[in-house]
């Protein structure tokens, strides 16, 4: 898929042609179906196509690249400020910040989120936790309510996230290495895309067709997610799992319920089942376990997997 941005063509591999990464794709899809999940944190070693998947998914769902907060951003661009060129012409014209833009589009993507300056992290946390963007600086005085989901990618080799920021991501995915066969398919897909990007290649068109089908299915799920029943028993199950896993805070059980509901909607089920919960818990509670929340490993231990199997079957 291509998109012209600021005069240049940006080519992104179609989402359907991304090899593997099923858990990552599931997390993004659930977050799209139920935005109240609050976003996705994607942690993975270098070269695992984390950013490509996010951008491809954004093109699939919104037709444009995500609102991106680069690690070089300064606070005036995050919060909003003045248009410099206009000011130089003697015109006072405000320039919306990335947070405001994300509020309109519903998502803020932060590449290499763990390399973000602490100062910028504080600004984001203020806004995400209060839902209020208050700018009172440089002769600007505005207050507005905004809400958006955070999507971040990070390489754990470069350090973890502060617990407060970690908790703001609804779901977390630990991107796994591909096996040899998947790697082979990935190499083929990437080189094929090198040739096909910007052309009317049938292979590319096929990928875009499959993307469109997926988009329609996701939209149907998004429209119906409110109608999916979540029984008292399932709600209790979500709470039980969070308790047994000693999840930090109470956001975990709520996100689990929303994610399970989104999965049920995606599979066109009328009600959430224990199986739906079982499949989303690794995403919703992974980073809320005490060890992971405080910088420890995010992988599930054998004991935790057994516990989940015992509770959820």
């Amino acid at each position: 898929m291509t998109g012209a941005v600021d005069g240049s063509d940006v080519h992104i591999l179609p989402y359907s042609h991304v090899v593997g990464q099923h858990e990552l794709k599931l997390a993004l899809e659930l977050n799209y179906i139920a935005p109240r999940i609050g976003g996705v944190l994607i942690s993975g070693q270098r070269g695992t196509a984390k950013s490509t998947v996010v951008r491809a998914f954004s093109l699939l769902t919104g037709g444009e690249l995500p609102v991106t907060l680069p690690i070089n951003a300064t606070d005036d661009r995050v919060l909003g400020g003045w248009e410099l060129d206009a000011l130089m012409r003697g015109e006072a014209r405000t320039q919306p910040g990335l947070l405001e833009e994300a509020g309109e589009k519903g998502m803020l993507y932060i590449d290499e989120v763990n390399l973000l300056d602490d100062h910028i992290v504080n600004i984001i946390l203020d806004v995400v936790s209060t839902g209020v963007l208050s700018v009172q600086r440089e002769a600007i005085d505005t207050v507005r309510n905004i809400a958006f989901g955070l999507v971040g990618t990070m390489n754990p080799e470069e350090g973890g996230l502060r617990p407060q920021l970690l908790d703001r991501f609804g779901l977390m995915v630990a991107v796994s290495e591909l096996d040899q066969e998947q790697r082979r398919a990935m190499v083929l897909a990437v080189l094929r895309f090198d040739d096909a990007a910007g052309t009317d290649s049938p292979w590319l068109a096929e990928g875009l067709d499959r993307d469109r089908e997926l988009r329609e299915r996701l939209d149907r799920a998004r429209d119906s997610v409110q109608d999916v029943r979540l029984s008292e028993d399932i709600a209790k199950l979500c709470a039980d799992v969070a308790t047994r896993l000693r999840a930090v805070g109470h956001r975990g059980e709520v996100v689990t319920a929303w994610a399970a509901r989104a999965l049920a909607a995606f599979e066109e089920a009328d009600a959430v089942t224990a199986d739906h919960v079982r499949r989303v818990v690794p995403l919703s509670l992974r980073h809320r376990r005490p060890e992971a929340a405080h910088g420890g490993p995010v992988e599930w231990t054998a004991e935790e997997s057994e516990l989940l199997d015992g509770l959820l079957g």
Partner: protein, 637 residues
């Protein structure tokens, strides 16, 4: 490869040219990392790369060089100030790394990747191999598809200092230690005077490569399934997927240059040979082997050699020629007899070990090296730290662009400004008084001063006693000032040595902890030196918020201060060495610095166990037990 077919052997220069040409041909081969390139060769290699790129892109090539003091604003923005008679004209343009200009290509040159500034490294991670890049700074925003090629050099022995995350962005690696200027001695001087730089020139590139570079359309060339499997099989399963992709891309470029319509496993082997990628052991059957019958057997006498058991280790001594294959394991894919690549011995990647030496390198970098630490850069502390406000600028350094323009805007309708503005011109008039610079939170600095008396160390592992102080220095990003006395390796046995390191991760610190003891202990000189260093630090570093002085000694200095100064012993020492040390320690104590904590780690040596306590008293500090044997218990005095 075509060069031999055209009757010419492939030397290190041609190999380098081919690698650079591959990057120019691309796509996706934007980062080139050269190991052990002589600094004087950086400019000629850059010229060659720019020449290749110009041939490929048919447009001028812009060069940007990044160094150790390159900051974020210099990378992403280009503020321009112009005085036009009516005030200052001000504009912000895309910085040198924003390569979205349609009329030029770009090469980013990093002469020493290890010493690249942190903003430079973070920029490399953002740009290299990315589908899209963005900048959002000071009212300026841009999005573009990065197309710049990066040419970086670094010493292979220092690779452990770099983030693997950063290194992973360089798909093309080559050991360039063998690259030398062709002329030497008087010829070289004359060449330089005449402006004749002997450099890898485009003329050395085989015609088929030149044709491929000049071609406007790239011929279709399909990577076969077998080739993809082979590229994947050459790397361990836990390595980055970018490596196999990079190798496959390189193989396809080679196939295109050779006019092939498909790229099979033989081309992957050829690419692996070009870079020096080693064949792994125990490749799954049918996965890591060329399927077109091309043998892995060598043409250089290594036929039938069984693959060694591990991946190769990084060559710790780049000067060595490494004749005997790969240390520690797998051998480089050898050159086939039909090619001249194996005519090199010392200068090729394949002889040098893995092109990914970071896999086996010693861990010398900081934890999370790409994160902005509490302190890092050598600039004045006022230019660092988070922004906490703006103030009137006295220089053009660290300008707050938006605040400056807003300040100017407030005064536009004052009569003085109106007269400066041309009639009907809406341009903002900025006067020098409008300029604002950032006020930044001062960055706290910490320092560990370590005085090691090696003569007290016999039979004692002092590292556990030192560990808390070293850990403090690490977590506080403290600089380390290390004073050594009594080392067998001392430059002068009657004098103390010292060095200042940016952090405890400096290898010299580790080396100092393991030196063998000598005979003399110029403790008095060591403490005098320490006194001078501390005074200088407190005078010059206004943000020095905390310093620890840790003295590890038994207090038995046996070299008087005048002997250290004169470099020879003039009379019997007796107690003079000890007394001089106590006097020097007292001078440190007399500084009365609240931010200086002094501690003496007691080496507990007989027959004078009281000396460390006397030293601590003189310093105004405490004694802690170091050696816990011989009945000495840990305590503070």
């Amino acid at each position: 490869m075509s060069a031999p077919a055209e009757g010419r052997p492939v030397g290190p220069r041609q190999r380098l040219l081919q690698v650079l040409a591959c990057s120019a041909l691309g796509p996706g081969l934007d980062g080139v990392l050269l190991f052990d390139l002589e600094p004087e060769m950086v400019a000629p290699v850059t010229d060659a790369f720019a020449g290749l790129l110009q041939l490929r892109e048919q447009r001028p090539v812009r060069r940007t060089t990044l160094g150790s003091v390159t900051g974020d604003d210099e990378l992403w923005l280009r503020p321009t100030l112009r005085h036009d008679g009516n005030g200052v004209n001000f504009s912000l343009a895309p910085g040198p790394l924003v390569d979205n200009a349609p009329d030029s290509a770009m090469v980013v040159v990093v002469p020493d990747l290890v010493r690249l500034s942190l903003p430079g490294m973070r920029a490399a991670v953002q740009l290299l191999g990315a589908d899209v890049a963005a900048v959002e700074r000071s009212g300026f925003r841009a999005r573009w598809r990065p197309r710049a090629r990066w040419l970086a050099a670094c010493q292979e022995a220092e690779i452990g200092r770099l983030s693997p995350h950063l290194l992973d962005r360089f798909p093309i690696r080559l050991n360039a230690a063998g690259l030398r200027r062709t002329s030497s001695g008087p010829d070289r001087v004359l060449d330089a005077l005449d402006g004749r730089e002997p450099e890898p020139g485009l003329g050395e590139l085989p015609p088929s490569w030149r044709s491929a570079l000049a071609a406007r359309t790239r011929p279709a060339c399909t990577l076969t399934e077998e080739a993809a499997a082979h590229a994947v099989g050459l790397f361990r399963g836990d390595t980055s997927g970018r490596r196999a992709i990079g190798l496959a891309r390189l193989a396809r470029v080679l196939a295109v240059v050779n006019g092939a319509e498909t790229c099979g496993p033989d081309r992957v082997d050829e690419a692996a040979r070009l870079l020096g990628v080693a064949a792994p052991l125990a490749t799954p059957a049918g996965n890591g082997r060329s399927t077109n019958g091309t043998s892995l057997a060598t043409g250089d006498g290594t036929d039938g050699r069984p693959p060694p058991p591990e991946q190769p280790k990084a060559d710790p001594a780049p000067e060595d020629t490494g004749q005997a294959g790969q240390p520690g394991g797998a051998m480089a894919l050898p050159a086939g007899p039909a090619e001249a690549l194996d005519t090199f011995t010392a200068d090729t990647g394949e002889e040098r070990g893995s092109p990914f030496p970071e896999d086996d390198a010693r861990f010398l970098r900081e934890f999370a090296p790409l994160r902005i630490p509490w302190q890092r850069r050598p600039e004045p502390s006022s230019a660092r730290g988070p922004v906490i406000g703006v103030r009137s600028a006295t220089t053009l350094r660290d300008l707050a662009v938006v605040a400056t323009v807003v300040e100017a805007a407030k005064h536009q309708n004052l009569p003085g400004r109106r007269t400066l503005r041309a009639s009907g011109d809406g341009q903002l008039v900025v006067l020098p008084g409008d300029f604002r610079s950032y006020a930044r939170l001062p960055v706290a600095e910490r320092m560990l001063v370590l005085l090691l008396d090696h003569t007290c160390r016999r039979g004692w592992d002092w590292q556990p006693a030192l560990a808390p102080y070293l850990q403090w220095a690490y977590t506080g990003r403290a600089s380390v000032c290390l004073v050594e006395v009594g080392s067998k390796d001392a430059a002068h046995e009657l004098r103390a040595d010292h060095f200042i390191a940016r952090s405890v991760l400096d290898p010299r610190v580790g080396g100092a902890l393991h030196r063998h003891p000598g005979r003399s202990s110029p403790l008095a000189h060591g403490l005098t030196l320490t006194d001078q260093l501390l005074r200088r630090a407190f005078q010059q570093r206004s943000n020095l918020v905390e310093a620890w002085l840790v003295v590890v000694s038994d207090g038995r200095g046996n070299v008087p201060l005048d002997a250290s100064a004169g470099g020879r012993l003039l009379r019997p020492v007796r107690r003079t060495g000890i007394d001089d040390a106590i006097t020097a320690a007292a001078r440190i104590g007399a500084m009365g610095r609240m931010r200086l904590h002094s501690v003496v780690i007691d080496a507990a040596r007989q027959p004078h166990p009281d000396l460390p306590f006397l030293l601590a008293d003189a310093l105004g500090g405490v004694t802690v037990a170091g050696r816990t044997t011989r009945g000495v218990t840990p305590h503070a005095h």
